[in-house]
Symmetry: C2
């Protein structure tokens, strides 16, 4: 390295940065580029010159004098048509997959496929592409094949629509909760609870190949004092935050080490969780979930993205559910007054149709997916989502509040909880009132043997029985814990439902599940 | 469990759920509660009856006939004053920390501290509190002490303000990016790259205590095929997504297993990362970072939350930086035209003041924190953030694009990158142009020995040299990779700066760092 020369600092200004920009790059900002979506909506009466667009070549048709280039930039399902003279010096670079900037005139098109097209004067190939080896083809490619290359898959037009849907849904939900003065929070990802040893958690340890460890040959102190896990749900931490600022929500990654191979499960997914403080019963919690999804549906239904989903041609080379089915889903969420039925009533209803089912409905057991499907199809008229409430206590989580007084005519104790079922997909959300009374919570934990883990600290104090790393959660009940409740919603599963994607693996850009974690 | 009785399903309706609601709870929804913040702004000319508010008792002063209760609900730093007759049956339950619902009249207050106060008719203690053991006190408590109980710490008034600041900042940024048609994305958390073996990563493995493993006594297949890590940055994945939908951003948790104990570092924190596609040089990337922060500052500066931060009394029992200092930070971000200076010019400037520094500034070495501090204080006038650009290639990451043509008068190769420095805190963001050309990228990776890891797959194909699990990242350059660049910003650090919080550990509700991961 040479020693520093005696530089004279120039005056400190924006100009400095320009010094290093090669002059050949400077023309770029002269004319702002327009998105393909923007251009497709633009139908000027007269031709417009000096129009700049950038994007990726989706296909090329070579005619005698011209090449017809389909250009996409992810902003719309439909491509833009550009005409380039075959003799153009750069025409050879317009290969499938190439990243290009085109400048030309936007003129009415004589063709039937589009109202306008770009007559290109200037071609700049910014990122060349070897079309022969480019793995993304315009022809139909199976989802399984596309899943082998998650880093390239988003370049297919349908996957770009899915990315936009996610983005617009996040923005819409953020606005919904802000409008209701819910505080958006960032609960922790690395946590101390192993979810009661259910085994479906990932553990977190620092990589051992630090330079220090190698140099010293010594084994290091554990990074954290005890075993740590990736969160399976942010609910417990949200409850702590709700006792500080009232209603809270989060959209957070959560993790499950499930060794299962289904279209509904991933090892890593986003969960939307909300917690309401100072609510006495389940009604307002269900109202919130219902209002939220209705707001999402009505705010996005007319967006270009959802219109792309609803009015795509049948042969858009995708595996999405039929457009009319997807349309029904959006309309279902927009409807008022979703039915609410108790688990006990649902079981009674299912028993009346017991001959239809492989598994007999039994009060006290979980609902089988054939049961949920029946309820989702028939109670909501195949359209509206359905709340099923008040499940038996013994099949639900320890933190759920027991229904009191117990409903008459019900064979056992229930809890104040709900599952939200939609047609086809069944459960997309679940929620409950949380047990907010210290003695009741400790009773349940004792019954469910959550107490007295030997590894847990704090067991010596008889007033603070050991509760397997959940001492802090119990603590919340010691001082000022109002009645509260909330819900969690699988965000990727909801998006799959609304997009008509058949498996959540195709809704997530880089899906992780048992055996698979590419890139 | 008793067998299911022959229930007759009731008509499916909203009414069902009401059946289980004890009548004693029904009164609640009759009068909607107002937040403390809302009430403090409300100055009716005449007294208003039947006002309902819920919250937590912060303090109680007992006088002869009345108790003066300070009530907070997280919506404002200032509490509401409520007067309860000492002889009220429930008055005894109004202990510090208790969660209560108060109903009464909102009347002009004779006291100096508030314009109005609540004359309470009805007291409901919804979550009692044993004030003697409640660890949160109104008197000053050190940050170190509060950090030992992260589940309770958010209940202090200042911590509630910090939670609201985070929420409002997320909403504001979401709106900013939506307004510019950036797609918000969810890049993966579990990734394949170990960050070039730097050792500061966490590994992810499933807990081994699954019932299956125990039952079979067998060692299971590894959950994923190879070693997996928690992401340290989403940039590489964002680049893939930017090639599909153009400009993208994310606010995502990232992880560093740094065994360091500083006020600036956490093992888990949120990073805001943005990637711009089809940009040829660094200017627009810096413009984006600058515009984003200016928009954040101007959109929030007049919010109740920021006003709480700026106009809090000096003895609010917090360790925040002085309010006038915090005010200067907000104003600094709102200013136009932040200075931009090259690293080389910065080093020359520092050399002129070399006697001030413990470490002599040397071209080719990183800037020491005393150097950054000097630049942040002097170039931005102690107010505006400062971009330092074009650092030496050899001290920067492999993916950064080399500056071409090289600037004259500069002793070695540089890259198109920037650090964004603010007074006091120094670096809060960093960005660069990414090397988008395949051959150039492979050259750098070869030079930095990122290639030819024996553990990597795909090494057999001479056209696809092994690049240590980054084959997919190299692949992005094979087909249609336009010039692009982006930046990352430590979100929690930014919030600390804007709140005046001295250590990022007090900005995050459940902070994790070397040796510490409570709750």
């Amino acid at each position: 390295m040479r020693p520093a020369p005696p530089l004279r600092p120039s005056s400190v200004s924006r100009v400095l940065i320009r010094r290093h920009v090669p002059s050949s790059h400077r023309h770029v900002s002269q004319q702002a580029a327009r998105s393909v979506a923007e251009l497709l909506q633009w139908r000027p009466a007269q031709k417009a010159d000096d129009v700049v667009v950038h994007g990726f070549v989706r296909s090329v048709r070579s005619m005698k004098t011209h090449r017809f280039v389909s250009l996409g930039d992810g902003s719309s399902l439909a491509p833009l048509q550009a005409l380039v003279e075959s003799k153009h010096a750069e025409a050879e670079g317009l290969t499938v997959g190439a990243a290009v900037r085109l400048t030309g005139s936007w003129v009415a098109s004589p063709g039937a496929g589009q109202s306008h097209e770009l007559h290109v004067g200037k071609v700049e190939v910014l990122g060349p592409s070897d079309a022969k080896t480019f793995p993304i083809q315009k022809k139909y490619q199976t989802p399984e094949y596309l899943r082998t290359m998650p880093h390239l898959r988003p370049r297919t037009p349908v996957n770009a629509v899915l990315l936009r849907l996610r983005s617009e849904a996040i923005a819409s939900l953020t606005q919904f909760f802000a409008g209701r003065s819910f505080t958006q929070t960032h609960p922790p990802i690395i946590t101390s609870s192993d979810c009661e040893g259910a085994g479906e958690v990932f553990t977190v340890t620092p990589a051992n190949n630090t330079p220090d460890a190698v140099d010293n040959g010594s084994s290091q102190e554990p990074f954290f004092r005890s075993k740590k896990y990736l969160t399976v749900s942010t609910q417990l931490h949200l409850e702590a935050l709700a006792q500080a600022v009232g209603n809270v929500w989060t959209l957070s990654p959560v993790f499950r080490a499930e060794r299962s191979d289904t279209s509904r499960h991933l090892s890593e997914f986003y969960m939307l969780e909300a917690e309401m403080s100072f609510v006495d019963h389940l009604g307002p919690v269900m109202d919130l979930a219902e209002d939220m999804l209705r707001s999402l549906s009505t705010s996005l239904a007319n967006s270009a993205t959802v219109q792309d989903l609803l009015f795509r041609s049948r042969n858009s080379g995708s595996d999405l559910a039929p457009a009319d089915e997807v349309k029904r889903r959006w309309e279902g969420l927009a409807r008022q007054d979703w039915p609410r039925i108790t688990y006990s009533d649902a079981v009674a209803l299912l028993l009346q149709r017991a001959d239809r089912f492989t598994h007999k409905p039994i009060w006290g057991a979980g609902l089988q997916s054939e049961h949920e499907k029946y309820l989702a199809e028939h109670i909501g008229g195949g359209e509206k989502p359905v709340f099923v409430t008040h499940y038996p206590r013994d099949i639900k989580a320890f933190y759920m509040r027991e229904t009191q007084p117990a409903a008459p005519d019900v064979p056992g104790a229930t809890v104040d909880c709900f599952d939200l079922l939609v047609p086809e997909f069944c459960e997309i959300a679940g929620g409950s009132m949380r047990e907010h009374r210290l003695d009741h919570l400790l009773d349940v934990m004792r019954r469910q043997r959550i107490q007295k883990s030997p590894s847990s600290e704090g067991g010596a104090d008889p007033d603070k029985p050991s509760v397997n790393g959940l001492e802090w959660y119990v603590d919340l009940r010691r001082w000022g814990c109002p009645p509260h409740g909330g819900f969690g919603l699988g965000f990727d599963r909801l998006l799959s439902y609304l997009a008509g994607v058949q498996t959540v693996r195709d809704m997530v850009s880089f899906p992780r599940w048992y055996g698979r974690c590419d890139c």
